[in-house]
């Protein structure tokens, strides 16, 4: 068992090492064969593990590989904790990763960094598996940073583009801001409990109740709240919650497969996973839950609004990812951890699907990402179209697609939640459904319906360079479409099949802990639960369903029925549109205030601290002082014999006086 578990992350690692070190020396296809095979085997093994956990009832497998560090008071170990939660994540991660690996074969076909790309994504898979399988904070942090590194490298994959390297750096730094909170949260738990092992922390979490920590002598806060907020800040960085979200849209600089894998399906959900994993700790702090529900709702609604005004197909999907991550965070805040994980899973499928479909469109149009230059692809790319449509329905949450089953409970949970801010969250999420439908179908309509607009640009001055654009876009190769189909199938059925065990059954068992007395959202959901079919039928009476339909209709009106209406609306809104176009000026704020502020602080430190104080005052000042002293003493050396004689006699006198007094 240990061997098998160890193989699951290690196979992708070996594949990554192979592709990284030998990728350029061996034929291209070796890289993708090795990587796909490794991740595929990982997937199969993960599925076996899941089977064992679910069917054979190994509810919790906890193995230790080796002692990383023996601190005397505690041992920091590397090992695996496999319970229903991590088994599910392992399957989702390896499945999506495997499909993306296959897809990459088609997408990156002509790229010179082919082997390097495979090496990176295989490494990413390894790190992500280390993260979800970890049984302690240390290893989780290892995976956490590993996926961050992979993300950094992959966003900056086309390193000759300054915007790409900048986006990579931005992603890394924003994540480091999150890590700052994460590490402090870990530190607090470690300082109080003396261990980093999840099992031990959960067993002793009650000891933390009522403890206070002084932030500064005199300022006392509840320890659990501070620790949870710290951990949540980490999650905010990784899962791109407002205000640490700006790196995610920029990360679209990376190749599309990684947008699907890292920035939609897996890595960005690591924060959600972490909070769910830490549910026993978070249950202890209403303040932290409240913070989560508010931050999540704000992210969900504000990012959905921004999604409306994007013209880059990938950015639309990116903002939708942000918005959906907000939904998950709200679920966490409402103590509906299982709902969050359930949405995480379905989201992984339909969002990866949407990204890969967008990628398929992008290849077909020769790396054209602007929605305004697409249109009418429905006939030319039928598979892509159908799968996209399925993804869009799932995203919008139309019954019976998976998104419906996962999103609806979250909205309900927000309504039933007891912590501060839940009403705000409920309304924000409900409105979010409408907006989601709007931007999703705006994208679908612009890309696949209407008249083709991709040819128009090539009649301009760039005729020669855009020659290939004259060829009509055609359906992508099988390596691209097969992953789309698999994901589409998952997007359709994942919800309807798994809602019963995951939300209302005992699938998660003890791996997720909810305080169902104080935070009874899940309990109240369960009270209303009358089976899948009833749930489906009930959907037609709920507000979100009709809002979704209204959203689709609005999108249809503004894109297909009356395209000019959109422009008129933009003119009418004027300033408000500008705010949206500039992403609420958050980026500008970071750029102008934080980044420039840091730079000016840095240069001030150099000028004031290093040049003036250290070099000027301490070093040169000392030199000057010595020089000045020497100059002054020079005047004592008159050169006249009688002055020296006088000084000697004076010295004699002093000596005698001293003797006299002593006597």
């Amino acid at each position: 068992m240990t061997m098998m578990l160890a193989l699951i992350p290690l196979l992708p690692l070996f594949a990554a090492l192979f592709a990284g070190f030998f990728g350029r020396r061996v034929p291209r296809h070796w890289s993708h064969w090795v990587c796909c095979a490794a991740v595929g085997i990982s997937f199969i093994l993960s599925a076996v593990v899941l089977y064992k956990v679910v069917v054979l009832g190994f509810t919790e497998i906890n193995v230790t590989l080796y002692t990383w560090l023996d601190l005397g008071s505690t041992k920091l170990t590397i090992g695996f904790l496999v319970d229903p939660l991590s088994a599910l994540m392992m399957v989702v991660v390896t499945l999506v990763s495997f499909l993306v690996h296959v897809y990459t074969i088609g997408y990156m076909k002509d790229d010179p960094g082919y082997a390097r790309f495979f090496s990176y994504i295989a490494f990413f898979t390894f790190s992500m598996l280390m993260l979800v399988m970890s049984d302690n904070f240390l290893q989780m942090f290892f995976g956490w940073e590993g996926v961050g590194l992979a993300s950094y490298l992959l966003i900056g994959f086309w390193h000759t583009r300054p915007s790409a390297t900048k986006a990579g750096m931005k992603a890394f730094l924003m994540n480091r801001v999150g890590d700052f909170g994460f590490i402090v949260g870990i530190g607090l738990l470690f300082a109080t409990l003396g261990t980093l092992n999840f099992g031990e922390i959960f067993a002793r979490v009650d000891e933390l109740q009522g403890l206070n920590v002084s932030l500064w002598p005199g300022l006392e806060w509840s320890l659990l709240t501070v620790a949870c907020i710290g951990l949540f800040v980490g999650a905010m960085g990784k899962s791109a919650q407002v205000p640490l979200h700006t790196w995610l849209p920029d990360s679209m600089e990376g190749p599309t497969p990684i947008s699907a894998l890292i920035h939609a399906a897996t890595m960005v959900t690591a924060g959600i996973f972490m909070v769910a994993r830490m549910s026993p700790v978070f249950e202890g702090s209403d303040t932290a839950l409240s913070l989560m529900i508010i931050v999540g709702a704000t992210t969900a609604i504000s990012m959905a609004v921004l999604g409306l005004v994007q013209n880059d197909i990938k950015r639309v999907v990116a903002y939708s990812t942000l918005s959906q991550l907000g939904y998950m965070t709200v679920a966490l805040g409402a103590s509906a951890y299982s709902a969050a994980i359930f949405h995480l899973m379905t989201h992984a499928f339909f969002k990866a699907l949407l990204f890969l479909a967008a990628g398929s469109v992008i290849i077909a149009l020769h790396h054209e990402q602007d929605l305004r230059k697409m249109g009418g692809l429905r006939k030319l790319m039928p598979i892509t179209y159908v799968t996209s449509l399925i993804g869009a329905w799932a995203l919008v949450g139309l019954p019976p697609f998976s998104g419906f089953f996962s999103k609806e409970p979250i909205i309900e949970a927000a309504r039933f939640a007891t912590v501060t801010g839940h009403t705000y969250a409920y309304w924000a999420l409900t409105l979010g459904v409408f907006l989601t439908a709007c931007y999703t179908f705006r994208m679908i309509f612009l890309a696949f319906h209407g008249a083709p607009r991709y040819g128009a640009s090539s009649h301009g001055s760039h005729k020669a360079s855009h020659k290939e654009h004259h060829e009509a876009p055609k359906e992508s190769p099988k390596v691209v479409t097969i992953p789309l189909i698999v994901l589409a199938v998952c997007s359709v059925f994942a919800g309807i099949l798994f809602i019963t065990p995951m939300l209302f059954g005992d699938y998660f068992g003890t791996s997720i802990y909810g305080n169902y007395v104080a935070h009874d959202a899940m309990a109240r959901l369960y009270a209303n639960w009358q089976g899948v079919l009833h749930y489906l039928l009930h959907a037609f009476q709920t507000l979100p369903f009709w809002l979704a339909l209204a959203g689709i209709a609005t999108a249809w009106y503004f894109t297909l029925s009356a395209p000019t209406a959109a422009d008129r609306l933009v003119k009418t809104l004027g300033a408000a549109y500008g705010v949206l176009k500039h992403h609420f000026y958050i980026d500008a704020f970071y750029e102008r205030v934080i980044v420039r502020g840091t730079h000016s602080a840095a240069s001030w430190f150099v000028r004031g601290g290093e040049r003036f104080w250290s070099e000027g005052v301490l070093v040169q000042g000392t030199t000057r002082l010595v020089q000045w002293g020497a100059q002054s003493l020079r005047y004592l050396q008159t050169g006249y014999l009688y002055h020296y004689a006088f000084a000697m006699v004076l010295g004699l006198l002093v000596l005698m006086t001293w003797w006299g007094i002593k006597k």
Partner: protein
């Protein structure tokens, strides 16, 4: 207070007076190096007076031996001093102390 009969104290006081006079001479002398040398002779003479007085007081001739050695040393000192004086005069044309300030910092 010492009486009128010359005792060791009297001799010591005399030597001290001689020493102070010559020291004042050394300090106040601005004229030439030659007088400076003479004042130094006086300083050593006062030291010798102490030797001889103590020699008489302890009835021990060692003090006189020491005085003799001092005399020899003083002789050497004045010989070398005068030689330097001559060199100085050759180089600068005078032996005024005020003009000797090459050691000025």
């Amino acid at each position: 207070m010492p009486g009128l009969e010359p005792t060791l104290t009297h001799y010591l006081l005399l030597a001290a007076a001689l020493l102070v006079i010559s020291l004042v001479g050394i300090i106040a002398n601005r004229r030439n190096v030659l007088v400076l040398l003479m004042a130094v002779e006086l300083v050593l003479l006062s030291a010798n007076l102490n030797f001889v007085a103590f020699s008489a007081y302890y009835n021990d001739l060692s003090g006189q031996v020491m005085a003799m050695f001092v005399l020899a040393t003083v002789a050497v000192e004045s010989a070398v001093g005068l030689a330097l004086l001559i060199l100085l005069f050759r180089r600068r044309g005078n032996i005024a102390i005020q003009t000797l300030d090459v050691m000025k910092g």
